[in-house]
């Protein structure tokens, strides 16, 4: 049983298919990059993973659990923009990651103090301690996205969904964010799905790179068929995953 399974997913809007026959198995701790042309349905697939939408057919399950009908704490998300709350300070944004799950959406007294200490630890880790008391509007784009990732992680999701998280950043900041994300994953392994336009980014960060495209194409009616996963690359070790195979399984060496 895989960690995340998608079985025979179809999604159509107003009878027009967007996705068709999407099947996917993801192991816990894998980083999945999702690439494809604009309008190929990769963001739709992410919304299905998030349970923001329901597929027309098929089901997505985490560890064989029930189908999710709305977004919840199992699935953390970072969007390209608007992922943090502008009316809360940077630290309160992190605290919200825990506090929103309570009846009134806020902590008081000792719990608040403890949550603030944990938030400060997260801020330390994502390098935003010096701006803890400011509002997100004063942060740069890269800092806002780091805050959004930190906030999502504060809720301890089982899978983390990133929808073009670095799309609005300049190239230098983008590379910093890649390093940041890589470090974060090295510290605590997590299952990540990332939609991106940037192929290089997808291969650099992902363990697997999924390509969404339309396998069937009607030139008279381009909208007649939906997209599916056409390639599933193993992107580990720079895209050459098996060159260390003999080191990992010395018994195979005998066959040489």
């Amino acid at each position: 049983m895989s960690f995340v399974t998608a079985r025979d997913i179809w999604q159509s809007y107003d009878g027009r298919p967007i996705l068709e026959r999407v099947n996917l198995d993801v192991e816990e701790g894998e980083f999945i990059s999702i690439v494809g042309a604009s309008g190929c349905g990769k963001s739709t697939f992410l919304r299905l993973l998030l349970a923001q939408e329901q597929p027309t057919r098929g089901a997505i399950r985490i560890e064989g659990g029930p189908r999710a009908r709305e977004p919840g704490r199992e699935r953390g998300v970072v969007f390209q923009r608007y992922s943090v709350f502008p009316h809360m300070t940077v630290r309160d944004n992190i605290v919200a990651g825990e506090a929103f799950d309570t009846a009134w959406g806020r902590f008081r007294g000792a719990r608040l103090k403890a949550a603030r200490e944990r938030a400060d630890a997260i801020l330390e880790r994502i390098g935003l301690s010096h701006v803890a008391q400011t509002y997100p509007a004063t942060l740069s784009g890269g800092m806002q996205q780091r805050l959004a990732i930190g906030q999502a992680l504060a809720a301890r999701p089982r899978i983390l969904l990133l929808d073009e998280p670095f799309g609005a950043l300049d190239p230098g900041t983008r590379i910093q964010m890649h390093d940041f994300l890589t470090e974060l994953r090295a510290e605590s392994p997590m299952t990540v799905f990332m939609v991106t336009h940037d192929l290089g980014e997808g291969f650099k960060l992902g363990d697997r790179v999924l390509v969404f495209d339309k396998p069937r194409w009607d030139p008279q009616d381009p909208a007649a068929f939906g997209a599916t996963i056409t390639y599933d690359f193993d992107a580990r070790q720079g895209g050459i995953p098996f060159q260390g195979l003999l080191d990992r399984y010395p018994s195979l060496r005998a066959a040489e």
């Binding site: 919840g72 704490r73 608007y82 929103f100 009846a103």
Partner: protein, 270 residues
């Protein structure tokens, strides 16, 4: 240099801001001078000195019969009606606006209703209000509420809908219930809009208040203006008009300051 790129310096800007006021004052003074020269008993444009003297008398001297200073009585009565009306309208429009903005069921059932309701001319309802609620305080407050609530509700529900869907989804992934999303995500972001909606509605609120007072009241700023109209007491009317303008301006200024203080995260967005 192009006209659109010319910016006045600070002293010039102050001068320019004062200019329209000075111009209207001068025009009045000249007009009044001309009329009074022709007929010293003219009541239409009393001299500025007469108005000042009347203003001092109105603000300080008690009425002979009741022993009260009428202007302050009128002010308190009117402000009480205004604040009650605007307060109730703000509370109503905030709750309906949030419900319409957040809940698809409320949106479907209330959007059309509020849109139609906002087309009803409130002053046309005034006779009904007098019949139903009597000539007392209630009908005046209700007129203000009916007059400004639909507009504020539409404004606020639109503001809630303007909150990016990403934020709402994000809050859900953090485990927030509908109630927590309303309380912690939507409400704080709508409150500054509530204050601007109140500021925009105050003009109409004053209009409805004075209209209601003019028709039936025994105290109030609007009542007094329409009462002394019978004696052509322009000096009193003008004093009251300036006083009402000043009050409205002060309330607006206070609301603006509150909004700047209370919502620092809005930055330049106000």
């Amino acid at each position: 240099m192009r006209l659109i790129n010319r910016v006045p310096s600070r002293p010039t800007a102050l001068l320019l801001a004062a200019l329209p006021f000075a111009a209207i004052l001068a025009a009045y003074a000249i007009g009044s001078e001309i009329r009074l020269a022709a007929n010293p008993a003219d009541k239409l444009l009393p001299a500025l000195d007469t108005i000042r003297a009347t203003a001092v008398r109105l603000f300080t001297e008690a009425d002979k019969r009741s022993g009260e200073i009428l202007l302050w009585q009128d002010t308190f009565a009117s402000l009480r009606r205004l604040f009650l009306g605007v307060g109730i309208a703000a509370a109503l429009s905030l709750s309906i606006g949030m419900a319409v903005g957040l809940l698809p069921y409320a949106r479907k059932s209330l959007t059309g209703f509020v849109a139609v309701l906002s087309m009803v001319p409130p002053l046309a309802l005034l006779p009904i209000l007098f019949i139903v609620f009597g000539l007392g305080e209630v009908s005046k407050v209700v007129l203000i509420v009916i007059g400004i609530t639909p507009f504020m509700t539409r404004d606020l529900s639109q503001r809630v809908l303007d909150i990016p869907v990403e934020q709402i989804v994000k809050a859900q992934t953090l485990g927030a219930s509908s109630f927590v999303i309303a309380l912690r995500v939507a409400l704080p972001q709508v409150l500054p809009r509530l204050i601007s909606a109140v500021r925009l509605s105050l003009g109409s609120a004053w209009l409805f208040l004075i209209a209601a007072e003019a028709v039936a009241a025994d105290v109030g700023l609007g009542y007094r203006i329409f009462l002394v109209r019978r004696y052509l007491a322009m000096d009193i009317i003008l004093t009251y008009v300036i006083w009402i303008t000043l009050l409205a301006f002060l309330i607006d200024w206070v609301l603006k300051r509150i909004s700047e203080r209370a919502f620092p995260w809005m930055g330049a967005g106000l």
